[in-house]
Amino acid sequence: MVWMERKVCAYIQDREGPNRVGPEGLLQPFADVIKLVFKEDLRPKAADAFLFAIAPVVSTATAFAAFSVVPFGTETTLFGLLSEPLRLEVTDVNVAVLVIFAITSMGIYGIVLAGCSSNSKYSLLGGLRSSAQMISYELSYGLSLAAVIMLAGSLSLREIVVNQSGYWWHVIPRWYVFLQPLGFLIYMTAGVAETNRAPFDFPEAEQELVAGYHTEYSSMSFALFFMAEYINMVTVSAVATSLFLGGWLGPLLPAWLGWVWFMIKVLLLLFFYVWMRWTLPRYRYDQLMEFGWKWLLPAAVLNLVATAALVIWLG
């Protein structure tokens, strides 16, 4: 993921990117991790030790936890090796969509704690702005989820994907992105804002705030924050794939290879993420908040109302 970002960034900027470590620079992330692990782990003296240490852990743990309810594919028996079918997700909760929303809400704490416990002006400002941005965009995030739930009639991610199987007129797959184009756009925009990525990454803008809420962190803690951000991106893409793009469904491949399609779709969305970062300019903070409250939230509400009307009208 890190490698893909640096390579794509480089090609967009008309250069080659890392090409020394391993073939095509594929081992570059490993080199980076090794460097970061051996760096000294600093801590400012006035910082609250326990909260300072636990903030990156909270960020990373919530990033991974949201992944536990995302289904990768249908039940598989691994070419007949297993005696009973194995489900390709960690748990199949019947309120899976809400669980994802809940864990995303908990992700805010990592940033708030990091900003507050560092006891430094830049960190506090960055942390406050970042968490205010996240809670503002959470509303649109939830409303776009609600529209999909109305279409599917279920809160379980597996059932939502199963509801998207089949084709219209044998050509167009029944994915929800075709029924809800506005909802998909709102979800992706809110997702980008939730993960603090460009063009909504003002809180960690290198030019204005040093590095925002993770100014005072170094070595492994910094690596953990970085990892948490990437995992959050992957989670948002994976959930978007399950909700809007039909999860593991796709033509040509048999059902038990569904996870291949899932990976392809997630990779496409991730590429889109990285592309956006290196092409679009950054929003200023007040423009960002204005956009979230004045434009995205009414759009999400309209989307919800329109979906409700259509569901009732078409039965």
């Binding site: 309120v95 809400l98 929303f101 809940a102 809400s105 507050c116 809160l155």
Partner: protein, 172 residues
């Protein structure tokens, strides 16, 4: 198995709550309360109420506690704990402790008089409790008045909070 999980979650909830009222630093109190909300969510899952568990995390741990954290951060409440005594003087403290213990005694006495009542384990009942669609339909039919009134209440409190906490206007 279920008993062990219950006792673990109950212990976490109780210890975290004691921590909330005992800690000097309000930031630590807020963090401990979030831990206790996690324990409550686990208890709700044990009680076959996954929707309530998730709603607890979303509303309480995800929104209300963020609000508390923001206020603690903005008022710098976590750095002023040495300037003001955190608890009251010894004599008033003793009265407070006696009153609290009296309340504990009364509640325990009243609750221990209830005969042992088991939960029903009928699969049909359990699945009707777990069903989110059922909760939704009840909310909008039997409890629709309360629902609408609650929404007006939230609107009023939102406006009120903005007015009370907002900066005083210059023309006053």
């Amino acid at each position: 198995m279920e008993q062990i999980v219950f006792y673990v979650l109950a212990a976490v909830a109780l210890l975290a709550s004691f921590g909330v009222i005992g800690q000097r630093n309000p930031m630590h109190s807020v963090m401990l309360l979030i831990v206790s909300f996690g324990a409550y969510a686990g208890l709700y899952v044990l009680l076959d109420a996954p929707f309530t568990a998730v709603t607890q995390i979303i509303i309480y741990a995800g929104a209300i506690m963020v609000l508390f954290l923001f206020v603690v951060m903005l008022l710098n409440a976590h750095t002023e704990d040495d300037m003001v005594p955190a608890t009251i003087g010894p004599r008033t403290m003793k009265i407070g402790v006696v009153l609290s213990l009296a309340l504990v005694g009364e509640v325990a006495y009243a609750l221990l008089k209830i005969a042992r009542t088991d939960f029903g384990t009928d699969a049909g009942t359990v699945s009707s409790i777990k069903d989110v669609g059922h909760i939704g339909s009840m909310l909008y039919t039997s409890y629709s008045f309360a629902f609408e009134v609650t929404s007006i209440l939230i609107l009023v409190s939102m406006v009120g909070a903005v007015v009370i906490a907002g900066k005083p206007r210059k023309d006053r």
